[in-house]
Symmetry: C2
Subunit: 335 residues, 2 copies
């Protein structure tokens, strides 16, 4: 059992109140008493019990983070950004990892409420009725990251413009002369990545009077392996080879490139490839991947700022759409 304020008081020959005043840099403490108390604290290595402090103050300095997977650069970068901002503002991070298990999200939301966290940063993938119920009852400031929930919830959200970004990168392909563009994506329960990026792809094609074929469409998961598999499936079943491939993430693009190289195709000479996300390895692989850059760290920072405003009760932004840029590298050929 750790040492308490009471014992410090006894050792220093003062009352608990005086010790408390010293700890909190309060006025009205004689230099003599202050010195004595500080000395005793140093000797004993006393550290105040923040449980008691927070109970008394009825608020904590902890921010809860709910995220689907930690070891993915998108999320870990965002957490990096979050920790930057939150630490500067005196908050700590309670991290909960749902491992892509949607049910756990509800569990964790309740856990965070139990912990009386000051606010919650919620990385959403899909939003179910259970989410609705849990979030509506939570009574804690929440900012949602990654999915546009502005029409469902009264909470602010921070999103990438997935639709526009996908459309832009596919348009870039079209501008380079590509007409037969295949698609390697993910399942559609993830609205932002699975649905919006696909819609962007279709819209770009449509606006340019281009057709797509079901042969050209592959949906898998988020793994690099899935990109490899997708490329394989497409290559093997297709009548006419696509001249370009739009992969909805850089990791998928990397897998696709690997398959092509292993099977004697040159990238971009034979087939061009683009991704989305600008993974940290994308400039370094061969060829460097042309992609959309989102600054995930900045997304985390932005979401944190919005949450802080929310907590402090000042103005409340409803929806923040993060910027993106096309990064042109060497995976696209002009034809």
């Amino acid at each position: 059992m750790a040492i308490t304020i009471k014992e410090i008081a006894k050792l220093a020959g003062v009352s608990k109140s005086t010790v408390s005043r010293v700890i909190n840099d309060s006025e009205h403490v004689s230099d003599k008493a202050r010195e004595k108390v500080q000395q005793v604290i140093k000797e004993t290595g006393y550290v105040p019990n923040s449980l008691a402090k927070n109970l008394k103050r009825n608020q904590t300095d902890t921010i809860g983070v709910v995220l689907p997977k930690i070891n993915t650069s998108t999320f870990s970068s965002a957490v990096e950004g979050i920790s930057n901002v939150m630490y500067q503002n005196g908050y700590n991070l309670l991290l909960t990892n749902t491992k892509l298990n949607v049910k756990d999200e509800i569990t964790y939301l309740n856990l965070l409420k139990e912990k009386r966290v000051r606010g919650i940063l919620f990385f959403a993938t899909e939003i179910t009725d259970d989410h609705l119920e849990a979030l509506n009852k939570i009574d804690i400031p929440v900012v949602i990251i990654g999915q546009d929930t502005s029409e469902i919830f009264d909470f602010p959200c921070v999103i990438q413009d997935d639709f526009d970004a996908a459309k832009s990168i596919v348009n870039h392909l079209i501008q380079q002369g590509h007409q037969d563009i295949a698609y390697i994506g993910v399942e559609e329960n993830d609205v932002a990545v699975g649905q919006l990026r696909k819609l962007g792809y279709f819209e770009a094609l449509q606006e340019n009077d281009l057709k797509t074929f079901s042969d050209y469409i592959y949906k898998g998961d988020f793994s690099i392996e899935s990109g490899w598999q997708g490329m394989k499936k497409i290559i093997n079943r297709v009548e006419r080879l696509p001249s370009a491939v739009f992969a909805v993430t850089d990791r998928l693009a990397l897998g696709a490139i690997k398959y092509l190289k292993q099977n004697g195709y040159q990238v971009p000479e034979d087939i061009s490839i683009v991704g989305i996300g600008n993974s940290d390895i994308s400039p370094w692989v061969d060829p460097g991947i042309t992609t959309i850059n989102y600054d995930h760290e900045q997304t985390g920072e932005e979401a944190s700022q919005i949450l802080l405003k929310y907590i402090n009760g000042t103005k409340r932004e409803e929806k923040k759409v993060m910027d993106y840029q096309i990064i042109k590298r060497d995976s696209v050929a002009q034809i």
Copy 2:
């Protein structure tokens, strides 16, 4: 202000004690009272205040994690493993990110003490006198990850066998006929990566009566860019080209490969390259990188298990050296 047990009691027409018993699945509650209380809890969305509970019980279910950088696959994978084990055992994670700032480590250690976390997982890079002082006073179970501190501290530690691993992979190069092997490493304040891996390199050379030249040695940081720079420096200053390069991480290897390809060298035909770490992208880049596999997720899990044992006061392992394997891919040629 959230609703409290007192109000639940009033609404349910029972005493606080009865509500508490219902919450904690205690015996000695009539079905009628139980039902009534549960109903009120459901209606109000009441969630117990864990601050008060923990204060009363004088212990928390929180594990503190101190780590130098989140968005690095080594660390984020380890955190993934940690969250696996800790969640299963009913613990939550309080995450602190030092951003490679050693001074912050001390700050965070104190913060975690203030929070009365149940145990600490400490990812160490270097150990200073300040660390010694802080850790010796902490009075909370700590497990150190990544650096061998068994001779300095009375805390358990979980490490990779960096020396052996480096020696093995360099030996593999030698077995493939390489004699001129360059080194791309990191600064030596990081004992495990900066010192031990270099020592393993030297020892492998020495045991095989091979020489190295100062021209062959480059030390930078952990970025992919640094691998690129290192390769450039070595290529440009060397009299005789090395036939192989040992990079102390896969990311450094990736940077080195990029430089070589950009400058007309073929990997592995002209120069072979190996790394350490088996990054998730290493099988997918071109060529696939021959490397040492550490299972970081498992490292996190192992450290968590040890911490749990420590917390529960059962047997205490002093030092756990994690296993490794050589993964042979396509970045090494036989000569």
